[in-house]
């Protein structure tokens, strides 16, 4: 060490040199720090650069700031074949040389060794200059290798620069892996969207099909009711003619038979009317608009003035809401429900009817029509909503048995439900649940 003692001046000179060197080193560290802190860019860019080669090209200026590589190439493992392919080489005319070198390193095991190392491997040659092999890997995956070259006569980067190069490589690898995951994630999302689209289409076509079929059924009911009325009219007409033609020569038994015939025809007629009404609910519905159920109920009550008077019934009601509905159908619904409540009455008891209303948490309005009538047996409660179902003979209680079917259909057309609760002998409660957004 101490071959000769330095004179004083020399040691000041050497201190100056050292200071200059340290200042230079300090500047270098500052710029290295700047570079390291700008590494976030790699990830920001990788958000829109999904191609690993593009991520590498975008990041290569950072690499070149640290080392004067005259050739810079990227090898990536093909996901299908696991083969390492040269994906980019700058300048392009060096691709062949780089590939030849890589083949040789693969052959002698150098490549595989470098791939496993977290740090870079420098392969030195006397005439060939310095080759730089830096594996590209995240903790979980090996992606490829950066291969670069510094010509002979140019110094290779020192330990600090090498370390920062490794850090850059780690960021590049992470960005590539993130981009891959991003791509995979997006592909999955697209698949999911596609699936939802397909399912929606399937549902829509199913809905169309159902609507067509409902229309067909309605059309059929409507036409059938019309076509059936014609022969009935003829039956009534020619029955009347037969009556007047036979005049007084008709005997008692024939008159009775004729009576039964006329009554049957009349009932058939009103049943057909009912059927027609039922089909009209969907085929000839009015537009849905804001409807005050208070007023609608009043109209229905007015229509029933005669029945109320004869049965000496009373009707009380809560304030009812205003909601979106078909005004005419709502009136029709109240008419049938109130009519039933007035008619199915216990002998000697005058009907007391209450109409209630409250709003459920889910936004549905529940309208209750409660009576003190004969009630409905539990086993019969499903039956009453079916067309032409009657629990009682026409003589006992009048009607064709269409009212509640019509009510249910109306409520259902409004997206609601109609149900009944009843204790036989103690009256019945009909609950209409209607949605109101």
């Amino acid at each position: 060490m101490d071959k000769k003692k330095h004179p004083h001046e020399d040691s000041i000179e050497s201190l100056k040199t050292r200071l200059g060197h340290l200042e230079g080193k300090n500047r270098w560290y500052y710029s290295a720090l700047e570079l390291v802190s700008s590494l976030g860019e790699i990830h920001r860019n990788s958000n829109h650069l999904e191609d690993p080669v593009a991520i590498f090209r975008e990041s290569s200026p950072l690499i070149l700031r640290l080392a004067s590589f005259e050739t810079l190439a990227l090898f990536l493992a093909d996901p299908e074949t696991s083969r390492f392919e040269c994906r980019t080489c700058e300048p392009a005319d060096r691709t062949g040389t780089v590939q030849e070198e890589v083949e040789q390193w693969i052959d002698n095991g150098t490549f595989a060794w470098a791939l496993q190392q977290p740090q870079a491997l420098w392969v030195e040659g006397m005439q060939t200059g310095h080759w730089y092999l830096q594996g590209l890997a995240t903790r979980s995956t090996v992606l490829g290798m950066i291969v670069a070259h510094i010509p002979a006569g140019t110094g290779r980067p020192d330990g600090d620069a090498s370390r920062i190069l490794t850090i850059i490589a780690q960021h590049i690898a992470q960005a590539m892996e993130n981009a891959r995951l991003f791509r995979a994630n997006r592909a999955q999302n697209r698949e999911l969207e596609e699936l939802v689209k397909k399912r929606t289409q399937a549902l829509e076509s199913k809905t169309d099909e159902l609507e067509t079929r409902i229309r067909e059924i309605n059309d059929f009911t409507y036409l059938a009711s019309h076509d059936l009325r014609e022969p009935l009219r003829k039956l009534t007409l020619f029955g009347d003619r037969l009556k007047s033609h036979l005049g007084k020569s008709i005997d008692k038994r024939s008159t009775d038979y004729m009576e039964i015939m006329t009554r049957s025809v009349k009932r058939l007629e009103s049943q057909i009317d009912g059927l027609l009404n039922l089909s009209r609910i969907t085929t000839q519905g009015r537009p849905i608009q804001k409807v005050s159920l208070n007023r609608t109920l009043e109209f229905a009550i007015n229509e029933l003035t005669l029945e109320i008077e004869t049965t000496r019934g009373t009707i009380q009601h809560d304030p009812l809401p205003t909601l979106h509905a078909d005004q005419e159908q709502m009136q029709q619904m109240f008419f049938h429900l109130l009519q039933n409540a007035l008619l199915f009455q216990k002998k000697g008891v005058s009907p007391e009817i209450r109409v209630t209303a409250y709003r459920k948490e889910n936004g549905f309005w529940v309208i209750g029509v409660h009576d003190n009538g004969i009630g409905i047996d539990l086993t019969q409660q499903d039956k009453i909503f079916k067309p032409f179902e009657r629990l009682h003979s026409a003589g006992q209680y009048p009607g064709v048995g269409m009212g509640l079917s019509i009510c249910r259909k109306i409520v259902e057309r409004h997206g609601g439900t109609l149900r009944v609760e009843s204790d036989p002998g103690k009256g019945a409660s009909f609950f209409i649940e209607l949605p109101e957004p």
Binding site: T17, N108, P118, Q119, W122, Q170
Partner: protein, 282 residues
């Protein structure tokens, strides 16, 4: 004056300073005008060290595909600082010769240290740590505090060791109770005395408590798990053979799955016997 980890080191001139050669190596590394060649020259001046280094870089420990026949070549492949850390790791045996060697089974002690170094180095490679040789060095020095304990406070150290069984608390905690500090803290004091980088000091100090090594959580977790792995592989014994509780945070930081363990085990096995031959018997 009470005994502290630092006083233990300071009072033991045999170990209170780095081996001479490393001062020379560091001087050259820090000299602005030096080159790889000069670092290589300094290392080569210690024949037995360079022989040992060349043996190890040509062993399965490195698995390098070509023969490396000069220190210059070794530096160019391994890196300057990496080779220095490797050199220091392989010099520990000589440095601690004669310390506590009639009280501790030295062969078993160094076998464990070597196993831990090898395991930690493999884990560090998996975690893509920049200088994996540093982890080998950590493994070699992580328990030397125990040698110093046995040299200077042999009664208490022997008492703690004698009590140690499958049902007792960890030996390191018993050391703290009996002595007031543990072997990790002595190792850290040694790293301070040798002017080693802070990372080595902290990792050695907290290798039993990886959650407390604030600035070096990942590094300490790697050494901690390497220690655990060497115990599981039953490679030597440095005092406490019992596997400690594996902390979930440590496991997550190391970031491997149980499925990785057989491959890591196999890799460590492949490197171990060779390293024993070169470093312990060579």
């Amino acid at each position: 004056m009470s005994v502290t980890p630092d006083s233990l080191i300071a009072n033991n001139p045999r170990i209170s300073s780095l081996p001479e050669i490393f001062y020379l190596i560091n001087e050259v590394i820090n000299d602005p005008n030096s080159s790889f060649g000069e670092v290589a020259q300094v290392i080569s001046s210690d024949t037995s060290l360079s022989l040992r280094l060349l043996k190890i870089v040509n062993s399965p420990f490195f698995n390098f595909p070509q023969k490396i026949d000069t220190i210059t070549h070794a530096i160019s492949i391994v890196g300057t600082e990496q080779l220095r850390d490797l050199a220091l790791a392989t010099s520990m045996l000589t440095k601690f010769q004669g310390i506590a060697d009639n009280k501790v089974d030295m062969n078993s002690f160094w076998r464990h240290s070597l196993g831990c170094g090898i395991a930690a180095r493999i884990l560090a490679m998996q975690c893509r740590q920049p200088n994996t040789e540093r982890y080998f060095l950590m493994g070699m020095v992580h328990d030397v505090g125990r040698l110093i304990l046995f040299e200077n406070l042999s009664e208490k150290a022997a008492l703690a060791l004698a009590e140690n069984g499958p049902e007792t608390p960890l030996l390191v905690d018993r050391e703290r109770e009996l002595i007031g500090f543990h072997h990790g803290e002595i190792g850290a004091a040694l790293a301070r005395a040798w002017n080693l980088p802070p990372i080595l000091e902290k990792v050695i100090e907290f290798h039993h408590y990886p959650d407390r090594a604030n600035d070096f959580l990942l590094e300490t977790s790697i050494l901690h798990f390497g220690d655990l792995l060497a115990k599981a592989m039953q490679l030597g014994n440095s005092g406490d053979p019992y596997i400690p509780v594996l902390n979930e945070a440590v496991w997550n930081r190391v970031g491997i799955t149980p499925g990785h363990l057989p491959a890591i085990w196999k890799q460590a096995e492949a490197q171990y016997e060779n390293a024993v031959a070169i470093i312990l018997l060579g």
